[in-house]
């Protein structure tokens, strides 16, 4: 005997309504499309970013060629001659020096926080270092220009010239405005970035590995140097490259202390310029469209370089994240 529903077709109706509620409610479709729409806006903006900067640079690309612009060292707005080689070199040199200065300090901090500091002060040290990353770059620029630059000019540069003057890197004319000043500011800015990621990666090194090494009679430094750093190698390299990416794109602090001089010099105590710094410095003064387009062309090259560096870093950090040994991110 079967149970007759009170009203014929009621069961079907209920089922249909339930199915609609679960899958096909109009609100659901609309809401999902809305969310998808906004997600697509982001993708659209990303595409538009590439396209727009490219079109902005098109006049310069047409005039000088995308690649020959990169390998030419000419910057003469009066004669309508532009080439970006010197600022590309300036960007890479200042970022590379910054990374060289920052990496030992950042790794030291990461090791101190994860391995050495008593638990009571661990959090406070990490917090304090992280605050450095929150300071706006204009404040770094102001401090660099009015505090660090005079200090270096009066106290450090004479020493460098006296004792290391036989190297081509430390020579007169030495102004406070220099590649070195920019690199030092950049180094301070990227230390918190590198050390924050390095801290996480180092935290993922299994305790058993460290204990095993200690049991073999290793000193604490040997544990760090021979176990922790090699184990966390890929992630640390990723962290360093992310720091490099940040240094390459940094604008304000560099613009204010580097002097924005259009030439390549081995002397790091001399003024120089980076891609970002000449854009910030000259964009508003670009009086004709080819000049403006050349600056945008520099921006295009800067974007490509930082995209490549960023993607490289992400891939490295991901390769650590997907490693079964580490449970990161």
């Amino acid at each position: 005997m079967t149970v007759e529903p009170a009203e014929p077709g009621l069961l079907q109706k209920l089922q249909a309504s339930a199915r609609e509620q679960v899958t096909g409610s109009p609100g659901d479709v609309v809401f999902k499309l809305l969310a998808l729409g906004f997600t697509l806006i982001i993708l659209l903006l990303a595409g538009l970013l590439l396209y727009t900067v490219w079109t902005g640079a098109s006049e310069s690309i047409g005039e000088f060629g995308f690649f020959s612009f990169i390998v030419t060292q000419e910057w003469n707005p009066v004669f309508r001659e532009f080439g970006a080689l010197h600022v590309i070199v300036g960007t890479l040199a200042s970022s590379a020096i910054a990374v060289v200065l920052a990496v030992p300090v950042a790794l030291g901090i990461a090791l101190f926080i994860t391995e050495l500091a008593p638990p009571a002060i661990r959090g406070i040290v990490a917090f304090t270092i992280d605050i450095l990353a929150a300071i706006p770059s204009i404040v770094y620029g102001l401090w660099g220009l009015h505090v660090l630059l005079p200090f270096l000019d009066q106290h450090i540069n004479p020493l460098l010239i006296n004792y290391l003057g036989w190297l081509p890197f430390f020579d007169r004319p030495a102004f406070g405005f220099s590649l070195l000043t920019a690199s030092i500011i950049l180094a301070i800015m990227i230390v918190p970035i590198i050390s924050a990621i390095a801290r996480e990666v180092i935290g993922s090194v299994p305790t058993a590995q460290k204990e095993g090494m200690l049991a073999l009679g290793a000193t604490r430094w040997e544990v760090m140097w021979k176990v922790i750093l090699p184990y966390a190698r890929a992630g640390i390299v990723g962290a360093i490259i992310l720091g490099l990416a940040r240094a390459i794109g940094e604008t304000m602090a560099v613009t204010m202390v580097i002097g924005n001089a259009h030439y390549i010099s081995a002397n790091i105590l001399a003024p120089s310029a980076t891609m970002a710094s000449i854009i910030a410095n000259e964009f508003r003064e670009a009086t004709y469209s080819l000049y403006l387009s050349a600056l945008i062309h520099v921006g295009l090259v800067l974007m490509f370089i930082s995209l490549i560096v960023n993607i490289l870093a992400r891939v490295l950090v991901w390769s650590v994240a997907s490693d079964p040994g580490g449970d990161r991110r």
């Binding site: 659901d28 906004f38 982001i42 605050i131 404040v139 304000m252 970002a276 508003r284 921006g299």
Partner: protein
């Protein structure tokens, strides 16, 4: 008594270890000292220069002492408000889509694009806003500046909103499903309110980040020594004003730049520091 070779080697290793551990501790202490040196200058120099007029008056003509940055403070807030209005809905709904609906592959691809966008130098974002908005409009404007800052905010906020939504336990969603609630209402009435504090915090952090940006504003908002005349004309902002004052030769303007930095640091580092303090050990490390 002479040391054996093994003893000597052991001492040497211990010495190296002590030196290197000391160096690690020194880097931490040194970097903290640098932080205090920077913040100390901002607080002392800025504190000496700041006064009531700084918040209420316009800049005086060059050479005349006194005056303030009232227009730049208000301008920064206006530009940030525009950025927030543009970026927060986009980031919010994109975060919802990524956390609630997207397939793993699509979400991964979008996340990749977002993180790549976050890596674009802010000066290039300025160029983007210039070519897209300033050039067709024929004028620098608050809108262009707001759009540029929105481009800085969107990747930060979208990812943070997604992370905040993902912390909502799946059992809550299941409980609502079992009650027959349609999934869009589950998202809006259960998931979003639960993740609410996290989402609001993420928005504040993204605003604080954007508020400290200078490079995207130089040739979008441009700057203005007077009050803005609506949203479609050049507008003063705090970071750009600090830059102009700091780079010039006038001592009085340098003092004002320090005062401006103090306000900027209080607004940005203050918010970020507070949030980090409250959410210690949670997922806001990307800031």
């Amino acid at each position: 008594m002479a040391l054996s070779a093994a003893d000597f080697n052991y001492r040497r290793r211990k010495l190296i270890s002590a030196v290197m551990l000391g160096a690690a501790a020194t880097s931490a202490i040194g970097m903290i000292a640098v932080l205090f040196l920077i913040l100390g200058y901002v607080f002392i120099q800025g504190g000496q220069a700041i006064d009531f007029a700084f918040f209420t008056e316009l800049p005086r003509p060059v050479g005349q002492e006194g005056g303030g940055m009232a227009n730049a403070i208000v301008g920064s807030l206006i530009v940030l408000a525009i950025a927030g209005v543009l970026a927060i809905p986009v980031g919010f709904f994109a975060g919802i889509y990524l956390s609630e609906y997207a397939s793993t592959t699509f979400a991964g691809a979008v996340r990749f694009v977002i993180e790549t966008m976050a890596g674009v130098p802010s000066i290039v974002i300025g160029i983007f806003a210039f070519v897209l908005i300033v050039r067709p409009m024929g004028t620098y404007s608050a809108i262009a500046g707001g759009f540029a800052l929105a481009m800085i905010m969107i990747p930060i906020f979208a990812r943070a909103a997604e992370e905040a939504l993902k912390t909502v336990p799946f059992s809550l969603r299941e409980a609502a499903m079992a009650l027959g609630v349609p999934s869009w209402r589950i998202v809006l009435r259960v998931v979003v309110p639960t993740a609410g504090p996290g989402i609001i915090t993420a928005a504040m952090l993204a605003l604080a980040r954007a508020g400290g940006e200078t490079a995207p504003l130089i040739f979008t908002a441009l700057g203005n020594r007077f009050w803005q005349e609506g949203l479609t004309s050049p507008i003063a902002t705090l970071p750009v004003q600090i830059w102009e004052y700091a780079s010039g030769p006038y001592a009085d303007l340098h003092r004002q730049a320090w005062a401006g930095s103090l306000v900027l640091v209080a607004m940005t580092v203050g918010i970020i520091g507070l949030v980090r303090l409250l959410y210690r050990g949670t997922s806001f490390r990307q800031f």
